[in-house]
């Protein structure tokens, strides 16, 4: 063995260590060459990860469906409605701000996907997990850790009915 863990010479080591000599320093030694090979492997892993993102992006080309959400009269000013769009797992919020003003956003906070809570009286969405805040009209982050705006649901109001017709993902 190159070196014992307690630093004592071989003759002072306990019997079990003499019976089962595991050279830990030798075993744990990582040469510069091995580190280099490991770094190249990590580098290849990054390429695989980015290729995966590219594949995910190429799949996202479906046309979003048109979904009826509610009638205008069903929602009072300052009230909100929870709905799913475009998939059942995508929870969204429809908020009536004014007589003719409706906004809808994805409910997942862009920080760590907690559900945001509408506060129309304060003109904001509040993420209670890490105190993130979003502007209620634009969905852009105004305070806290979120950096990206909430994805906005494109609305269409026809003959007193509110429809969701698309999703506007925004990077900034």
């Amino acid at each position: 063995m190159s070196r014992f863990p307690d630093g004592k010479p071989a003759r002072e080591q306990p019997q079990w260590r003499q019976d089962f000599p595991i050279d830990w320093p030798q075993d744990q030694y990582v040469s510069r060459r091995d580190l280099l090979k490991f770094c190249v492997m990590i580098s290849a892993g990054f390429v695989v990860g980015q290729g995966w993102i590219g594949w995910l992006a190429s799949r996202a080309t479906e046309e979003p469906p048109r979904k009826h959400l509610a009638k205008i009269d069903d929602i009072e000013i300052g009230d909100s409605l929870l709905f799913s769009y475009p998939k059942e797992s995508d929870r969204c919020l429809l908020v009536r701000l004014d007589e003719d003003e409706f906004v809808a956003f994805n409910q997942k906070c862009t920080h760590l996907t907690c559900a945001v809570v509408p506060e129309p009286e304060k003109d904001r969405f509040n993420c209670p997990c890490h105190n993130g805040f979003f502007d209620i009209r634009t969905g852009r982050p105004t305070a806290g850790p979120p950096r990206r705006p909430l994805p906005q649901i494109v609305l269409e109001i026809t003959d007193g009915d509110i429809f969701a017709v698309g999703v506007d993902l925004r990077a900034s």
């Binding site: 280099l36 770094c39 390429v47 993902l169």
Partner: protein, 97 residues
């Protein structure tokens, strides 16, 4: 016929250290590229994704090239005696700790 250039062990160590520093820098660049790509994808900006993939691929090819060069480097020795010594004697790693 020209003699193949020989490199001492100390020179090899310097080259390996330089390679390691360079590879780590490339790795940091790739990490930034990956996080930027992910942010863009989540924000719906798909334009930069594939160019970023190709840049990352170029980085990994660069790293692989360095690794191949490192393999070739291990086959150059200062003298014939040095080569025989390297084959017969196990490397004492404690000098590098």
């Amino acid at each position: 016929m020209s003699k193949r250039p020989t490199i001492t062990q100390k020179q090899r160590l310097t080259i390996v250290n330089g390679m390691l520093g360079f590879v780590v820098l490339i790795l940091i660049l790739q990490l930034w590229l990956f996080t930027s790509t992910m942010e863009s994808y989540l924000g719906g900006d798909y334009v930069i994704i594939w160019p970023a993939v190709f840049v990352s691929l170029a980085c990994v090819l660069l790293n692989l090239g360095l690794l191949v060069y490192l393999g070739r480097l291990d086959h150059t020795y200062d003298t014939a005696e040095d080569a025989r010594y390297a084959r017969r004697t196990p490397v004492d790693h404690s000098q590098y700790i």
